[in-house]
């Protein structure tokens, strides 16, 4: 009976709504009790964030463990390797500390070069894509490609060498048309976030409640 009550979706929605109201009021009104409660809510959120790491670890262990137990073709050896790396990282971090020489060496010889290489590989795909996609097939495409090329030149020192006007035009494109679009996007995101908050407040948003 108690478990059934705890599983009701009203509970997480109510908690979220109360937290939103406290933080919103604490932001707009200078009331010491409200500010203290808002700070408490923020601190709790940080603690929950830290706890989420453990939940993630358990989740990864189960997901990978399932693949290993089932000997899923093409996956189980990657899953094994993933678990070994995960727990080796944790063991090193707990054993020696995240700023120990051994942990830093481990990070700099695994995560850092792998991630950098992965990001570096983007240049091949990007240049390949530019070569195949940046073709003036219509008037609209022309309006996209010309500013694109000007910004390309403006972002590299060579643009200044070719003509001092190029960086100026590039900056104008970034400051005026780009700014207009970026501001629109930022304001849109802000309104969307407020709308999401309102939906959570009135119980219309159920994702947080596990639905």
């Amino acid at each position: 009976m108690a478990l059934r009550f705890l599983k009701r979706r009203e509970i997480p929605i109510s908690i979220a709504a109360i937290c939103i109201i406290i933080i919103l009021l604490g932001y707009f009104f200078v009331i010491s009790e409200l500010s203290a409660a808002a700070s408490k809510a923020q601190l709790t959120s940080s603690i929950i964030g830290a706890t989420a790491g453990f939940v993630g670890l358990i989740n990864v262990t189960f997901a990978m463990g399932r693949r290993i137990v089932r000997r899923q073709p093409g996956h189980w050896y990657f899953a094994t390797w993933s678990l070994i790396i995960t727990y080796a990282t944790i063991a090193l971090g707990l054993g020696y500390g995240p700023f120990s020489t051994i942990y830093i060496k481990y990070f700099l010889s695994s995560q850092a070069p792998l991630y950098s290489a992965m990001t570096g590989l983007l240049i091949f795909f990007l240049l390949g894509a530019v070569y195949r996609a940046f073709v003036v097939r219509s008037l609209e495409a022309l309006f996209l490609i010309i500013p694109g090329c000007i910004i390309l030149l403006g972002n590299a020192p060579i643009g200044q060498i070719i003509s001092p006007v190029i960086p100026q035009i590039s900056l104008w494109i970034l400051n005026i048309p780009n700014n207009a679009a970026a501001r629109g996007m930022t304001i849109g995101t802000g309104i969307g976030t407020v709308a999401l908050g309102v939906r959570i407040l009135i119980g219309r948003e159920r994702i947080g409640a596990g639905e």
């Binding site: 601190l43 940080s46 964030g49 500390g97 990001t119 390949g128 490609i145 060579i158 200044q160």
Partner: protein, 289 residues
């Protein structure tokens, strides 16, 4: 159509990927191995970052925050190193805080490169008294919001020392007392920190950004919320120039030149090919008619 029968124009538009990739490798590798030292000017946005550091009051608190994946952070490494050289030369208190595990490691690597460590003073700055690294804090925007109100929310620093024992912690105070807030990262956390730190506390803010995110975050600079912003590896080269030394940022500027020129050449080739084929088709159609 077989490759032999393809006209030059068609071939221009169908360069095999393997050759394209080979050219990219050469274009990136050559300027790194043999830097050309292409001259470049300093942009107003980078100069504004430099000027904000120059204006720092004696004893002011500089909070350097960041959150990102290592692969993206590598683009702002040169800029961060030049920036740290500059900040450490001033009479200020420096606080590092990271909102991603990679970033905590990244700032450590940038400091190691300059020889800044907790064991020995760097430019007269002693760990715990003049600077502190609070390491990685989970919780993103909520943690940053709480840190703005109470720095002692972080109970131990990156090296495991209780923050209560570090004299520098007593000087941090609330975000409205910070002399400078530095967002040394790209991505959505920049937007978050503008909303959590720069706007409500009116803290002077500068951004060390990647080139990819630069246009997205530019509205914050034009609106005056952030005083200045550097752009990726070129921003690093510009800051190195302002600091009066030639570092890896300068090699990066050469790489930028070559890759951007290659991009333009490829766009030109693809369009010449397309236009040529279009004219050929039109002519063929006219002949048939």
């Amino acid at each position: 159509m077989s490759v032999e029968k393809m006209s030059v124009l068609v071939r221009l538009g169908k360069i095999p990927s393997k050759w394209l990739y080979l050219v990219i490798v050469l274009v990136v590798a050559i300027p790194i191995i043999y830097p050309f030292g292409t001259p470049f000017a300093i942009t107003d946005a980078t100069l504004a970052v430099y000027n904000e550091v120059e204006k720092l009051p004696a004893g002011g608190v500089v909070v350097i925050a960041g959150s990102n994946a290592y692969g993206f952070l590598i683009e702002i490494k040169e800029c961060l190193q030049a920036f740290l050289m500059h900040v450490y030369s001033k009479d200020v208190k420096i606080v590092f805080i990271s909102f991603s595990a990679d970033d905590a490691m990244f700032t450590r690597v940038a400091r190691d490169f300059l020889g800044i460590s907790q064991d020995k003073p760097y430019k007269g700055k002693v760990y715990g008294i003049d600077w502190v690294d609070l390491g990685y804090i989970t919780g993103g925007s909520a943690s940053l919001a709480y840190f703005c109100k109470n720095a002692f929310f972080v109970t131990v620093d990156a090296y495991g020392n209780p923050t209560q024992n570090l004299p520098v912690m007593k000087e941090i105070g609330k975000a409205d007392t910070w002399a400078l807030y530095v967002e040394a990262s790209a991505g959505t956390m920049v937007v978050t920190s503008m909303g959590v730190v720069s706007i409500p506390y009116k803290t002077t803010t500068v951004i060390l950004n990647t080139a990819g995110w630069y246009p997205t975050h530019l509205p914050y600079v034009t609106a005056g919320i952030a005083k200045g912003m550097t752009m990726g590896i070129l921003g690093g080269a510009e800051y190195e120039k302002l600091m009066g030394f030639v570092g890896l940022g300068h090699s990066g500027a050469d790489v930028l030149n070559f890759t951007h020129l290659l991009t333009l050449v490829l766009v030109a080739l693809a369009n010449i090919s397309y236009l040529g084929q279009y004219i050929e088709k039109r002519k063929l159609k006219e002949v048939k008619e």
